[in-house]
């Protein structure tokens, strides 16, 4: 065999590198198509009605049924009522959890008090507890205190998210200087005053992360609304979409339109702030 000249060898190396790069990008972009396709497909289906959808053969053209599907959607469910309910549950729940989690996180970070370790241990245990396990007693407690079929029942139990409390505690420890708390104390500020006007403003990044986690969770939550919200004027959007699945001759085009609109708010927020959302939603897993 003839030895390769250095130039030939370099060319061969370059070719291999090019090939490797091409393969790399093919793999990565295939994965992107694989990920995004269902979303695009649901949008495509939103422009079709049953007749064009059920025609055999692969059909990747846009239909002309978008407006008709919108009207069908409003016929089969109170779509915007559901959207509004989801929004109000997510917003109220998020705001309340910002207050509660920051209060508890602040207390755990700043004060030494009896029972602190016990509370800490309970939080860890409650994080391990599968939500389905407490679903039955949750439902009974809700009934017993007269909260059945209310939005409060859906978000209140999650307003003390132990993950959120930990997150805030870490933020207080890391980003609120001890001297500052001492100074506030010497100036005669009460603990609540210190929390409200000294600590909270410093916690903004942590609160933003927590807000993202809570909003996404509450918007997408299905299990608790399913057992608590029974009347159609209280139902959240995930519940409404699911419930029309059982209707005979389901207008799938209309339903795909509704599904697509229902994920749009989160997708839009995600497009605008993907970095913050990714780091927020994985902040339990990744320390940065």
């Amino acid at each position: 065999m003839k030895a390769l000249t250095p130039v030939q060898k370099e060319n061969l190396d370059g070719m291999f590198r090019m090939l490797g790069k091409a393969l790399l990008w093919t793999a990565l972009l295939t994965a992107v198509v694989f990920t995004v396709f269902p979303f695009l497909w649901s949008l495509l289906m939103a422009t079709h009605d049953r007749t064009t959808m059920f025609s055999s053969g692969l059909n990747l053209t846009l239909g002309d049924q978008l407006v008709a599907n919108y009207h069908r959607l409003l016929d089969i469910m109170d779509f915007w009522v559901g959207m509004f309910n989801s929004f109000s549950v997510a917003l109220l729940g998020t705001l309340t959890s910002l207050l509660f989690c920051s209060m508890c996180g602040y207390a755990l970070a700043v004060f030494e008090f009896r029972g602190r370790k016990v509370l800490f241990g309970m939080m860890i245990c409650s994080m391990m507890l599968p939500p389905i396990l407490t679903l039955i007693p949750y439902y009974m407690v809700i009934n017993a205190i007269g909260l059945s079929n209310t939005h409060l029942a859906v978000w209140l139990p999650f307003s003390i998210n132990p993950f959120g409390i930990f997150l805030i505690r870490q933020y207080v420890v890391a980003s609120v200087p001890k001297d500052l708390l001492e100074a506030a104390k010497l100036d005669g500020a009460s603990a609540f005053r210190t929390y409200w006007s000294v600590v909270l403003p410093l916690l903004r990044p942590g609160l933003a992360t927590l807000a993202i986690v809570q909003f996404v969770f509450l918007w997408n939550n299905f299990l608790q609304p399913l057992v608590v919200l029974t009347s159609s004027d209280k139902m959240v959007i995930t519940q409404m979409l699911r419930s029309v699945q059982g209707v005979p001759n389901t207008p799938w085009g209309a339903l795909m339109l509704g599904t697509f609109i229902s994920i749009l708010p989160l997708v839009l927020i995600y497009m605008a702030a993907s970095k913050q959302m990714i780091s927020g939603l994985t902040s339990g897993a990744v320390k940065n």
Partner: protein, 334 residues
């Protein structure tokens, strides 16, 4: 209160007053942490501790929630006995386990190499690709399952249409012609397929989350290690298996733990894909789905409570075994 005047006759009275306000202050001072913790204590007590205790109590009773609390009746261990001998319970437990495997293992097998490829790229490209991969994690499981329910549809679903296309195509017909015999496939109607369909949706939704965790993990490994390995003559496969994988161990451990916990709780995806447990429910129902059915469709809260406890034991056992086998190594030196 005026403490500026220091006249004798009022001193005693003032002292008493100061004492009182001091005591008040120390009271507030001592209880401050508890005031701050009160939302947690109250809400967790109501929705966390009480329910768990009540669950224990309830699992020894029969109770129909529609009939009210008065109909509760003590039955001893009957609920447990009934549940443990209930074949559906074991079937659904088995389903849950299989779906956890089918969706969990591919998730990590795909996420690890993809993350490894991602970190080779520049920051911008990495950011855009990660954004795309993470998108399913942000959207609701219900919405995603609805979309896949339509994609899996027997006659009009894109998956069956694409398979038919492959079977009819002149180039691909020789390889996929046999599909004619089985078409149309009822991905969500057939008991034999439902587990794979559900697992696929779960896989699709969470693979991006794992990619992000692994990319973050890989980013913590310094370039110097790779450079040293290149000098020692390691090829890229060796660099992946000898450097990246061992150093990723804590991240893998964490991600797999999340997958196990999440998959044992699987509810939304199978619920939607089996059309609210109406079809293919023998193999498609998870333990959580079954629990929901027993409690809210059959209104047998006592049995449901017993099932909950059995489920709790099973999850505890699995997590315990997992930590026992992998915990120390998984957590590394931490």
């Amino acid at each position: 209160m005026t403490t500026t005047e220091m006249t004798d006759p009022t001193t005693a009275q003032e002292n008493a007053q100061r004492d009182k306000s001091d005591r008040q202050r120390t009271f507030w001072h001592k209880t401050t942490p508890y005031w701050f913790m009160s939302p947690y204590i109250i809400i967790f007590g109501t929705f966390g501790i009480f329910p768990v205790l009540f669950m224990i109590y309830l699992s020894f009773h029969t109770w129909n929630p529609v009939a009210g609390l008065g109909t509760m009746e003590y039955v001893g261990l009957e609920n447990y006995a009934l549940s443990l001998t209930d074949p559906t319970l074991w079937q659904t437990l088995w389903n849950t386990f299989l779906m956890a495997l089918y969706s969990g293992i591919p998730q990590h097998l795909v996420a690890l190499p993809l993350a490894y490829l991602l970190v080779q790229l520049g920051k911008r490209a990495r950011h855009w690709l990660t954004t795309a991969y993470f998108l399913p994690y942000v959207t609701s499981t219900i919405a995603i399952s609805m979309i896949f329910f339509v994609m899996f549809s027997k006659e009009s679903g894109i998956i069956n249409q694409a398979l038919t296309g492959l079977a009819n195509g002149s180039l691909t017909g020789w390889a996929f012609g046999w599909l004619h015999d089985v078409m149309p496939l009822g991905w969500v109607q057939e008991n034999s397929l439902i587990r794979y369909s559900v697992s696929f949706v779960v896989f699709w939704k969470y693979v991006g989350f794992n990619i992000v965790i692994y990319t973050a993990g890989l980013a913590t490994i310094s370039d110097e290690l790779y450079e040293a390995a290149i000098i020692d003559g390691a090829n890229s496969w060796q660099r992946f298996t000898r450097i990246a994988l061992p150093l990723l161990r804590p991240f893998i451990f964490f991600a797999v733990t999340l997958t196990i916990i999440g998959n044992m709780n699987l509810f939304d995806e199978p619920y939607v894909l089996t059309r609210g447990l109406q079809q293919a429910s023998t193999n498609g129902m998870t333990i959580s789905n079954y629990l929901y059915r027993v409690a809210w469709e059959w209104l047998d809260m006592g049995s449901a409570a017993a099932i909950s406890w059995i489920l709790f034991m099973v999850i505890g056992l699995f997590t315990g075994l997992y930590f026992w086998f992998f915990g120390r190594r998984g957590l590394g030196g931490e």
